[in-house]
């Protein structure tokens, strides 16, 4: 007897085998002529500057943390949704309380500004044209004359 998860496992294995076979076939028939320049990291034709495994924006980390908290609460919602119809008003009110707590946390994160992304603020040029319109017209006339 093959369970439904067993079938999915077979599907999974066959899919992985298929892609693996594709990679192996390509590995057998393709050319391989590497040299140092070809194997250097691509950086628009320049010599690569340093490594790219460096510090990155903390925002990504914050987003991941918030995601983790919310995702756990979403998981709690699934069993509730399954039995919702049979429990009626009791389940509904209870979930309103649960969602209420969730919304408080959500509002806190929003107000703290953790959902904001750094936006570039374009600086408009403060350049003042020292040549006035009158002088410019005069210059033009001078040139054409």
């Amino acid at each position: 007897m093959l369970t439904d998860f067993g079938r999915i496992l077979i599907f999974f294995i066959l899919g992985a085998l298929f892609t693996g076979a594709g990679l192996v076939t390509a590995w057998i028939i393709r050319p391989s002529r590497p040299y140092a320049e070809k194997l250097s990291t691509y950086e628009c034709g320049e010599e690569p500057v340093g490594e790219s495994w460096v510090k990155f924006n903390i925002r990504f980390y914050v987003i991941a943390l918030i995601f983790l908290l919310f995702e756990v609460e979403v998981v709690f919602l699934f069993p509730w949704a399954m039995v919702f119809k049979s429990y009626g008003v009791f389940a509904f009110v209870e979930m309103l309380v649960f969602l209420g707590i969730l919304v408080v946390g959500y509002a806190y994160v929003w107000v703290k500004g953790d959902l904001e992304w750094d936006k570039p603020v374009p600086k408009t040029s403060q350049y003042v044209d020292k040549v006035g319109v009158v002088q410019y017209e005069a210059l033009k006339e001078n040139i054409t004359a």
């Binding site: 079938r7 599907f11 992985a16 990679l23 690569p48 919310f70 699934f78």
Partner: protein, 346 residues
């Protein structure tokens, strides 16, 4: 007995794999043709009539391309990442029903690979695994563009996964089950005897949020920030070439097919062909019609995916994040409460 089950499973798996891969090949061609017509040009038309064999020529080319792994890269993870991407993209399809249970020769055959009782959770889990393929490829390449693409992809996909999970809850509440087969059967009912009770009618807001989240999860325009060409060269697959690049490419289109199939199953009635049971048709004809209905619905959604890609410009990253966190999540939460209210007092 046991052998028969395994043969049945293998036949179904083989069919699904072959059909999926052929669809991917022609989807690439369809995308190029549609983009060409949108931009007022002809598209590929040299290989075979109307360019019908173009995709196969492309696959052949990918096989013969040299595979360049940068010497600074982590070679093992660099190879592993595309494998994760494509395997995950294809195996999500395992729980999607593409037809009603079909009685033949005294046996009931379910037209799906695995009818698991936690189908929706399986889909959500698989889409989460898809993040690993892209993030690992971005990290393993040791390239600045790849790393940025991978980071963006992970943040984007986890953000929209949240609203995806929240919008599905409305569907689960209506059906009272996580089993996709039961959800589809539930959608075979009629409202006032005339309107098919598809979840798009019962859950319009949930449908819209789920659709948008699917676009973001498949990294399609307008959400293709992880591979935004003008700023990130190729994003997470900048350092990929040859067959490994081909696998990422395949995975993108396989993801599109799976996403469309899931949307059809959850919101557009799955294999339901409205009113077909009111005519006395032979069982085989009904099954074929239903499978056809499923295919047509998926094809229409795929067409929609493509038209959106070629008509709508890309988001900026802060717009993308604020849409995900400040619009989609409140909408999806509100949808849950409204659905609960209706189910209780209707």
């Amino acid at each position: 007995m046991s052998v028969e089950f395994i043969v049945e499973a293998l036949v179904k798996i083989g069919l699904v794999l072959v059909i999926n891969l052929t669809t991917v090949a022609y989807l690439v061609l369809a995308e190029r043709k549609i983009s060409a017509f949108i931009q007022n040009r002809l598209g590929p038309n040299r290989v075979g009539p109307w360019g019908l064999f173009q995709s196969f020529a492309d696959i052949g080319k990918l096989f013969f391309k040299e595979d360049i792994v940068p010497s600074a890269a982590n070679k093992f993870v660099h190879t592993l990442a595309p494998l994760i991407s494509i395997t995950v993209a294809m195996s999500t399809f395992a729980v999607v029903p593409f037809g009603n249970t079909f009685a033949f020769n005294g046996h009931d055959y379910k037209l799906m690979i695995g009818d698991v009782n936690i189908g929706i959770l399986f889909i959500l889990a698989m889409t989460s695994l898809g993040v690993y393929g892209i993030t690992l490829s971005g990290w393993a390449s040791n390239n600045k563009y790849s790393l940025l693409g991978g980071l963006r992809a992970s943040a984007q996909m986890i953000s929209y996964e949240l609203s995806m999970g929240l919008s599905v809850i409305g569907v689960v509440m209506i059906a009272g089950s996580l089993q996709l087969d039961k959800i589809v059967i539930k959608q075979g009912e009629y409202l006032w005897g005339v309107i098919p009770a598809w979840n798009i009618v019962l859950q319009p807001i949930g449908f819209i949020t789920f659709l948008i989240a699917s676009f973001a999860e498949t990294n399609r325009l307008p959400f293709d920030l992880p591979e935004a060409e003008p700023e990130l060269v190729g994003g997470y697959h900048t350092e990929y070439s040859g067959m490994k690049f081909g696998l990422f490419f395949l995975a993108e289109y396989a993801n599109m097919i799976t996403a469309s199939a899931v949307i059809v199953t959850l919101y557009l009635g799955g294999w339901q062909f409205p009113f077909v049971e009111r005519f006395a048709l032979p069982a085989l004809a009904v099954t074929l019609l239903q499978m056809g209905a499923f295919a047509v619905k998926v094809a229409l959604l795929l067409f929609f995916f493509m038209v959106v890609r070629w008509t709508i410009p890309r988001f900026r990253y802060d717009q993308l994040m604020s849409l995900g966190w400040k619009v989609m999540i409140p909408l999806a939460l509100g949808n849950i409460i409204v659905t609960g209210f209706f189910l209780l007092f209707h």
